[in-house]
């Protein structure tokens, strides 16, 4: 079997995988960070705490696969709307991943000592300045490994998009198999591509860790 004949199909799958991963990763990072900040011990109110904890419970408690199916089949039917598969898929991934990112950011902020908040208060820092200049840079050191782990997991979760007909990497492989009827080399190739992506991501993480690019805590 000549896999090179399917080069463009594989590339198309890789591009779609990356598009879904980057979009979902970016939005989940933004939403998760905001919710993590709002739910940290210092800033949480009883209402925000209940709402955010309920959200993370749902986002983490329902499998990503089920969330994708709900986003693609249930929500459009309930609202009488036609939602493009890619949008539904990314929406489901963002919903799911944001729950985890929220927990990671919240626990990271909670590890920063209360004294740092108090020091900012007595030095006249506004709350945004406190977060931006003092708290988040210190929290980042603690949350980076977990964040990288979450985004690595998100990359692999994009393979579930195949089930709603999005031609990402896994779906591309399935399409090749349906033509060639030879799954072993195709699935091995798909697995290797995911491994390479994960490996690159881990190398980036190690590089950042060694260079101390996310904080100079000594």
């Amino acid at each position: 079997m000549n896999l090179s004949a399917y080069f463009s199909l594989i590339c198309q799958g890789i591009v779609m995988t990356f598009a879904a991963w980057i979009c979902a990763g970016l939005f989940s990072l933004i939403i998760g960070t905001l919710l993590g900040i709002l739910s940290c011990r210092r800033l949480a109110t009883s209402w925000s705490s209940v709402i955010i904890r309920t959200y993370t419970f749902i986002a983490k408690g329902i499998p990503a696969y089920v969330q994708i199916l709900i986003a693609y089949f249930v929500i459009p039917a309930a609202l009488g709307l036609k939602i493009p598969a890619f949008l539904a898929a990314v929406g489901a991934l963002v919903f799911c991943s944001s729950g985890y990112v929220t927990e990671i950011v919240r626990s990271g902020i909670n590890t920063v000592s209360v004294g740092q908040w108090d020091a900012c208060f007595v030095l006249g820092y506004s709350m945004p300045a406190t977060l931006r200049r003092i708290i988040l840079p210190q929290a980042l050191k603690n949350i980076m490994p977990a964040l990288f782990g979450e985004f690595e997991q998100l990359l692999k979760t994009t393979s579930l998009l195949a089930t709603i007909g999005i031609t990402e990497l896994t779906r591309s492989g399935m399409n090749i198999i349906s033509r060639e009827l030879n799954p072993i080399p195709v699935y091995c190739m798909v697995a290797c591509i995911y491994l390479i992506f994960s490996g690159v991501l881990q190398l980036v993480m190690i590089y950042i860790e060694r260079k101390g690019l996310y904080g100079n805590n000594r």
Binding site: G115, D118, K141, N217, R218
Partner: protein
């Protein structure tokens, strides 16, 4: 000057400060002494706004504390924490510069002022060092420098000798006396009798959330049973 008028602090239905009135005068070191749990730290935290008062008023330089904006408050009152609370991801210089950048000063001016104050506190050789690489005494001098960079009228220090050896305690005594001589209003909470006897100026004795004795002269210490017991032992 700080005038504290009948303040009460209640936390979780427990009265921590009960109708406390006192005064911190310009150019003097006012010490609040007493056993643990007497309310010394709560009193200092109330002055800087970290602890909300339930009743009474705190006047700082003729202005009500609650009417000051966070920046005004920071430029009026400096506070040195017992465990210093330096920003661990910043160097010594960055710790001193960052609060100045927050108040809108440009980097060059902020750096000049920070270096000048660090020099006065003999910390200029450590500008590029991170707080965790410093000794307790050095960390404290950086914390004092960070507060002084905002040029406050009042400087409060919570248990400043808690993690200092005798040599660093003596250095701190000299620094505080010099600052007071330059017109700074200083408030100190302490249960270190040796330290208090060295900086003895105006002393309030606190017990169970109340001020029970006041003495403003070492010569009159015999008239104040609790203070003399505390200082003399």
């Amino acid at each position: 000057m700080v005038i504290i008028d009948n303040i009460t602090v209640q936390l979780q239905n427990k009265i921590i400060l009960n109708n406390v009135s006192c005064k911190l005068s310009i150019g003097h070191i006012t010490s609040f002494i007493g056993l643990s749990g007497a309310g010394k730290t709560t009193l200092l935290k109330s002055i800087v706004g970290l602890t909300k008062i339930s009743d009474g008023s705190i006047m700082i330089a003729d202005q009500e504390l609650l009417q000051l904006s966070p920046l005004q408050r920071a430029q009026n009152v400096g506070y040195v924490f017992q465990n210093f609370n330096l920003f661990s991801h910043f160097t010594v210089l960055q710790n001193c510069i960052d609060p100045l950048l927050i108040v809108g000063m440009n980097y060059h001016d902020a750096s000049t002022r920070a270096r000048d104050i660090l020099d006065q506190l003999q910390m200029l050789d450590f500008v590029d060092v991170y707080p965790s690489q410093l000794s307790g005494g050095q960390q404290q001098r950086v914390a004092i420098a960070r507060s002084l960079c905002l040029q406050p009228k009042i400087l409060l220090l919570d248990e400043p000798t808690a993690s200092l050896d005798p040599i660093n305690t003596d250095i701190l005594v000299q620094i505080l006396k010099k600052l007071a001589a330059n017109g700074l209003t200083i408030g100190v909470s302490s249960q270190d009798m040796s330290f208090v006897s060295k900086i003895f100026d105006k002393v309030y004795f606190m017990q169970a959330g109340k001020i029970v004795e006041f003495c403003d002269s070492i010569e009159e210490i015999k008239n104040n049973v609790l203070i003399s017991q505390f200082i003399v032992g």
